[in-house]
């Protein structure tokens, strides 16, 4: 997809200034530049601009999002059962465990929260930990902005309530394919919500009877979704540097820093390096 032409050539820098002034030159420039890695990066920024014109928010998007996510949500359900079991052991009632899954809808933070759950409940520690574990969602949400720009605040924030790792990944895949289905996140989120809450209830009722999700390979669904997404997000040579930066920083940070900060650190490091490389 990228032929490896020099990306930082003078002509490109000039083209960029012209493009900034003239929309027509920009459109022509897009075709011509599509061969260079630099333009590839630029096209992404611009095509985000085109995509947002064509974004829709309707039943069709909800339906497709829901159906695409069901198989993944079944795998996530393995974790919901595990969470239900842990919540039950921590002393939460079935209704309380279900309420947590229905309103928080963020697996890792819920599991850690019930592990911290003692009597009296360490409220401050739980809230700070939940915030720290879930801060990565800010970055994930911000990554959706190019497509969500045209949606109403109600549509955006309503959809984001249902965002979890797996359906964010599926939504990125859908939107980068150019389908313009703005309601995909909401539909996929509803699927996640139903299976997450349902499996929590099963786990909380069944208590210790249920086995380890690893026995059925459910624990691998999470990694598998992200490997599949990585394949789709690969944009050729222009992806190489940011990905290597993200990988190196995340792996090192995971060793050194407790919790899930490594996701945030890896993502931010890649973005910072890209900002520095831009025009350089």
């Amino acid at each position: 997809m990228v032929d490896g032409t020099e990306r930082d050539g003078e002509p490109d820098a000039r083209a960029r200034t012209i493009e900034d002034r003239e929309p027509d030159a920009r459109a022509r420039g897009r075709n011509r530049d599509a061969r260079t890695a630099d333009a590839d990066r630029k096209r992404r920024v611009e095509s985000a601009g085109t995509d947002r014109e064509a974004i829709t928010f309707g039943r069709e998007g909800i339906r497709v999002g829901f159906l695409t996510t069901v198989p993944v949500a079944i795998g996530v359900g393995g974790y919901g059962v595990a969470f239900g079991v842990l919540a039950n052991r921590a002393g939460l009632s079935v209704a309380e465990a279900a309420l947590m899954s229905a309103t928080v809808l963020a697996g890792a933070s819920q599991i850690v929260a019930v592990e911290l759950w003692t009597d009296p409940i360490p409220v401050a520690a739980i809230l700070v930990t939940v915030f720290a574990i879930n801060l990565r969602y800010s970055l994930m949400g911000a990554a959706l902005q190019p497509w969500f720009r045209r949606l109403t605040p109600k549509q955006i924030y309503g959809s984001l309530f249902f965002m979890a790792d797996e359906n964010w990944a599926l939504t990125m895949r859908e939107l980068t394919s150019g389908s313009g289905r703005g309601a995909f996140l909401l539909g996929s989120g509803i699927a996640m919500w139903l299976f997450w809450v349902g499996s929590t209830i099963v786990g909380a009722i069944a208590g210790g009877v249920v086995g380890d999700p690893a026995r059925y390979g459910f624990d691998f669904v999470f990694a598998a979704v992200f490997v599949a997404l990585a394949v789709e997000l690969w944009e050729g040579r222009s992806s190489l540097v940011p990905w290597l930066v993200a990988l190196a920083v995340a792996v090192v940070a995971a060793e050194l820093v407790a919790g899930r900060w490594y996701i945030l650190l890896g993502g931010v490091a890649a973005a910072v390096v890209e900002v520095i490389r831009y025009d350089a």
Binding site: V45, A48, P71, V72, L92, S93, A95, E96, L99, T103, V104, L105, S109, Q110, A113, I121, V123, I126, L127, V130, F131, N134, Y137, S138, L139, G141, A142, A143, Q145, L160, M163, A169, L170, M172, R173, F218, F220, V221, A223, A224, F226, V227, A228, A230, V231, E232, W234, E235, W243, V245, L247, A254, Y262, L265, G266, G267, A270, A271, E274, V275
Partner: protein, 106 residues
Amino acid sequence: MREPLSLDPFVVAVILAMAAVTVVTKVGGIWLVRHVELSERLEAGFSVLPGAIVIAVLGPELAAGGPAEWGAGAVVLVVMWRTESILLALCAGVAGVVLLRSILSV
């Protein structure tokens, strides 16, 4: 053991506070970029976020695994690359990890 449907008001309050904190993290990022004008340079930075986040999630996840997870990860990669079907890739990956774990643990 507590009644399945019992709701302790304090527990409910803690859960709702957890929910509020989580909602802030989920909407906070996009709220910020919607209300701050981004330069082209910054937007280029944001455009690498999706891939970078995926890799940042994946790297430590796979590093914490072993040969079975790495092998199954490769299976997902190849199936996804060849078929572009997420369902097929997931099924192959889960089947692969179960198979590899049973082989490697012998």
